[in-house]
Symmetry: C2
Subunit: 581 residues, 2 copies
Amino acid sequence: MKASQFFISTLKEAPADAEVVSHQLMMRAGMIKRLGAGIYNYMPMGLRVIRKVEAIIRDEMNRAGAVELLMPVVQPAELWQETGRFDKMGPELMRVKDRHDRDFIIQPTSEEVVTDIARQELRSYKQLPKNFYHIQTKFRDERRPRFGIMRGREFTMKDAYSFDRDAAGAAKSYEQMFAAYKRIFDRFGLTYRAVAADTGAIGGDLSHEFQVIAQTGEDAIIYCPTSDYAANIELAEAVAPATPRGPATQALVKTPTPGKSTCADVAALLGLDLKQTVKSLVLATDELDERGVVVKTTVWLLLVRGDHDMNEVKVGKLDGLKNGFRFATVPEIEAHFGCKPGYLGPIGLLQPVKIVADRTVAQMSDFVCGANAWDHHYTGANWGRDLPEPDLVADIRNVVEGDPSPDGKGVLAIERGIEVGHVFYLGTKYSKAMNATFLDETGKPALMEMGCYGIGVTRILGAAIEQNHDARGIIWPASIAPFQVAICPIGYDRSAEVKAAADALHAELLALGVDAILDDRGERPGAMFADWELIGVPQRVVLSDRGLKEGLVEVQGRREAEASKLALAEVAAAVKARLGA
Amino acid sequence: MKASQFFISTLKEAPADAEVVSHQLMMRAGMIKRLGAGIYNYMPMGLRVIRKVEAIIRDEMNRAGAVELLMPVVQPAELWQETGRFDKMGPELMRVKDRHDRDFIIQPTSEEVVTDIARQELRSYKQLPKNFYHIQTKFRDERRPRFGIMRGREFTMKDAYSFDRDAAGAAKSYEQMFAAYKRIFDRFGLTYRAVAADTGAIGGDLSHEFQVIAQTGEDAIIYCPTSDYAANIELAEAVAPATPRGPATQALVKTPTPGKSTCADVAALLGLDLKQTVKSLVLATDELDERGVVVKTTVWLLLVRGDHDMNEVKVGKLDGLKNGFRFATVPEIEAHFGCKPGYLGPIGLLQPVKIVADRTVAQMSDFVCGANAWDHHYTGANWGRDLPEPDLVADIRNVVEGDPSPDGKGVLAIERGIEVGHVFYLGTKYSKAMNATFLDETGKPALMEMGCYGIGVTRILGAAIEQNHDARGIIWPASIAPFQVAICPIGYDRSAEVKAAADALHAELLALGVDAILDDRGERPGAMFADWELIGVPQRVVLSDRGLKEGLVEVQGRREAEASKLALAEVAAAVKARLGA
């Protein structure tokens, strides 16, 4: 490809609304162009990256035995009503009516459609397992689209769906996809982690997020540097402290803490370690009768150490809370604690409250907690002596750096990631809702076991850039770079020698299977180099009259500070080797 | 690819709602699967054809210098309001509101979005010409979707848009696209014609439809077998007869023709040639004042020969009619002709009527026409003697087989076609509406001259099948077949020799770049052969123990009645040669 036949459009400044570096650099490098909130044109330079990402995904999906098809963008609502998602999903599901006033949706995913295909096409156990995938435009009407194509409304996703005879088969399909995803992300050349994730109501441990590591990532990734443990923050287990609860050494003292309602403020006021304090969260659950009228309300007090954060996903799995909970109201709190929120604690309750202590809190002694009296805290509180043992001890907090790893093989570290893939065991959630059965060996119908496997194709671009950039621009891995090599001749239109050498090198690289672009635009060297650094092409070759007199050209990798002089005759092979191609 | 790793699903019977053969065969061959009215899943077998079609298009578009990008499916209404199409287009434009109640459309084409890109990105004459294209999902909410994916609602289209400095440049871009389209359709291996088409209000002669020839086509294609003239029925010119108007030889006679209001009935009753009769059509045009009130109505009588059909597109281009016309009302007709519709003619009018005679009619003598009296016609009517010369003589009819070719090089023939591509000079229609200007050499802004170029990717499949099928199924051209060769081993699971030979042949064909599928499903030979004939794979190779004993395999082209026996060692090269690959 010659630059003059392509379309290159770079900007010195990023638009003001580009919040993150990947968005800024994609706009500046002319990879995307905003059409509306969360809706982007993929410009020629960006589309080349998308196509390379898609090709790697397709290659590995096919290798793993998945079969590609293409399901529609606009889907009839009927199927979505069968699973209940038409009504259950919020406004992020884009609903549309046709000329006959019939309901349709613009697909955010395709579980319903693929399950409809499966229940018609996969009739016998002999046809299983089967894995169908497509790479198709998706739409999610995000309330606040942002970060360019990282959280856009229209995006491209690869979504695969496996169908198996039983849970064991589904686990095997899951493992195959997990292995394919590792190959895919390896080939992208990105640093990533496969992170165990929560499976929600389905249970089991078959859910992993593929997270591209980046300081700017929205997700916290928990991992153990001395083992292969990795989980997301929702799932990562905070194990109980190894040391047992210490004996009570202090008396319970009601201490004035005027205006200090947070643990940090109280610890500072009293000159105590924050780790000596306990914070309170009051929830409520309601029992309803068949008419939906509340017949009984239970108030819950959840306790975590002052320096810890509550984990709502973990709380949502507790017996008594897993069917839904809400924050307690101020009147409910006053009736049970005799105090307004701000100084609440587990001692001296007016009415029964279910007390859930985090594992760490259950092993604390001589701790500080709210005194259920305005502007007062207790110090020297001790389980068993000053208050009954908790009703429930559970892991209800986020892990923190230095916590022991649940596998016992070290301590946990935390880094930031961007979720770009997800493999998930679905069980019979969709096959049950849509009656997707097959006939087993005995001729009896059985529900198919499903898994789903997504990769955010367009999001990969953003994640790759968040991970790989510098002050000058993007640094693409060679496998997904829009071009692998930029040939930059100085004086292409002036010097017959430069032109001949550049054209010959271009042809030679293309013949070697290297995706090289020849910059024949006639830009000044500085502007030309800046463009290719901004665009992030992995290797640059500069040809000039002066160098060619000695038979030399300059090669510089995007991450290299200096160029190397190479013999013209050897440069094509050398560049190919540098790309690892 | 092995069949067991792919997904093959064939049907003996087509569903009842499949009206045309391509729809029936695509359903039976498992290429598409209906999801809703005009909305289809592209199943793995069909998707392979789509991908091959897309690859050919992409290859030739790139070769022609067009640059690929990707514009969104969901587009903000604002741009469509700028050109007025948001309001002007009917319900076939799918409109949708987002969570903030903002208007969007699901793209049927992308003129607005690409023009928006161009007006921002193409700022200088130095950046022109430029041609952007994408291959993307489109939606048109057809009132009556039918014929499977030939007239679906969701479909895939390649649409390209060229931007030039002036009309001469646009004509050059047009010619380049025209040439690229010819290469594309040649590579598809389909019989087609590039047919001149009407440019409507824009004028000029730069519009061609690419029509795949098929008896079942919806469009009439006019062409001259002895020259390269080809046009669609709207455009094809009916030239004036070479022979001048003959002298009047009959007297004008008012003849009773009770109950015979059609030309055919009158000719039969009177024992005359239908070519001696003239039929009448009465139209009206209204002049409005600034408030939209009709201030003047003109009544028009259009005359074509009894055996000819009126051409509304041609009528719509006439002076006085090109700003819109309607059928005249019965009271208007009675006031001007003194007769109800059925026996109308140009002789003896009560009020002024503009008379437009088709070129053929203007040269008739001794003709038959309505007498403006119930149940009566005139015979022996002659221009100049019995009625004034017409106000206007024009080409207002469809051509018929045998008409002289407008290029003077023969006579016209008619065949049926399916429109699968269209190249169109747009002029400044969109650039003017959206103020898409560039700075010319003098630094002054000028409107870009545009062209648009579409290919219906998914429709190609239907058209190819309408043109190429037989009683047994589809007959794909080798370039777009889902697989080029089906290797059919008999006893793959029983005979080690058959298995080894089939596996080796499969590997050999793949190494030669031949897209071969090995049918390892273990089907009976009859069922296996029927599947591949239905699916339409161009070449089939059958391996059996008996043949292999003699070192022979059977090769049969999809159009061949008999198989040929070939030496196993030579078959791969022979099959490749048969494919023309």
